[in-house]
Amino acid sequence: MWRFLAEAAAVFVKDLRSEFRTKVALNALGLFAVTTLAAVSYTIGPYRIAEADRPFLLSALLWIVIFFAAMAGLDRSFVKEEDTHTAPLLRLSADPLVVWAGKLVFNLVLLAVLMAILVPLYIVLMGFHVSSPLALFAVLMAGGYTLGVTTTMVAAIIARAMTRGALFSVLSLPLLLPLMIFLIQGTRAAAEGSPDGVTQTLRAVISLGGVMTVVSVILFPVVWHE
């Protein structure tokens, strides 16, 4: 167990170090999030939406921005290994689950950084009133994890394809559709301060994340070694 953690940490630290020196994923994610946010806040702004519609529409917009930013950057860690031809040696050196765990944590950290910057900005720029910030935080955490675990798996798949283009989003979005619906409703519940809606969402999101984790642990070695 300790050996597994140490090896996974090595993969994570390696990715983090590479990312700090090149900043490819961070730039893609950050720039995408900021431009989309600017566009949304410029065209829609805080007061174009009727008071009653605000919790729902603002929740939906928030998650659309987060999902699309995720699509722009979360495939980098796998795609880069293939593009720079480092994947074969990694495959021959490391245990597949070690690679999965390291990359998953890396993607989760990217998502956490993205949300930490984006969400407060969004709340301020869009005048999003959140009755229960703690509930919002829980929804963001659970949602971030499930989003990360799903996209990590899809990224591993598309990294092995030749013509990637839009493949990452094409493959990810159908898998993320239920998650997106849950998260929008959960965020709306947090904004309106309805604890029932929040717990319902959290239950659904966490079980989806759990199922995805189990399936990933079983299937990642297949994808990685294919």
Partner: protein, 227 residues
Amino acid sequence: MSSRGGVHRVLPWVLFVWMAVVIWAAFLWAPAASGFVGQSSRIVFFHVPTAWVATLAFLGSCIASIRYLKTRQPIDDIRAQAASALGLTFAILATITGSIFARIMWGSYWNWDPRETSITFLLLIYAAYFALRGAIADPERRAAMAAVYAILAFVTVPFLVFIVPRIYWSLHPDTIINVQGKMKMSSRMLQVLFASLAGFTGLASWLYCIEVRLERLRRARQHEELI
């Protein structure tokens, strides 16, 4: 061999007659349901079976995919591919028939009610599945990646089909048997619907067998030419 060949020759004709009767019954024998605009309820005899086949094909594709990852036999990949091709076709048909009905009943072609969302999900999954297959040249890798993707999609289905509608409202008419277990349709309608379900399942199985044989021949020819 000859008796089996004989059965194979007869079955398509049985299917042909069966489907012809179903089509006739759907328009002329079954009554129009009350509470629906005009004759619009008749589309149920075609819409429900296509959606059923699309779902069945999805299940078949997932089973074949799991088998492929276990056995690594190309035939299981062929089965998964054939089932998905069929599923895609029928999902498109279900979407078209569904949105025609939605236009008549609720005034717009598309409402994003949970069941419409489910079928869109199936469509997106099938489209993604074939996009993925098209992007990988190595046949062994293509088969395995497609299989993994099918399984990933499969585990998200219950969330979309069962959990999402529980949290949100639905415009869609209740499924055949509603919550209290009471049949809403007249017995004639039900008879036609079940006959149609059986007919469509038979039709899909037939198409599936043809597609599997065809793909096998295609691949066998490639192998003969090349290896």
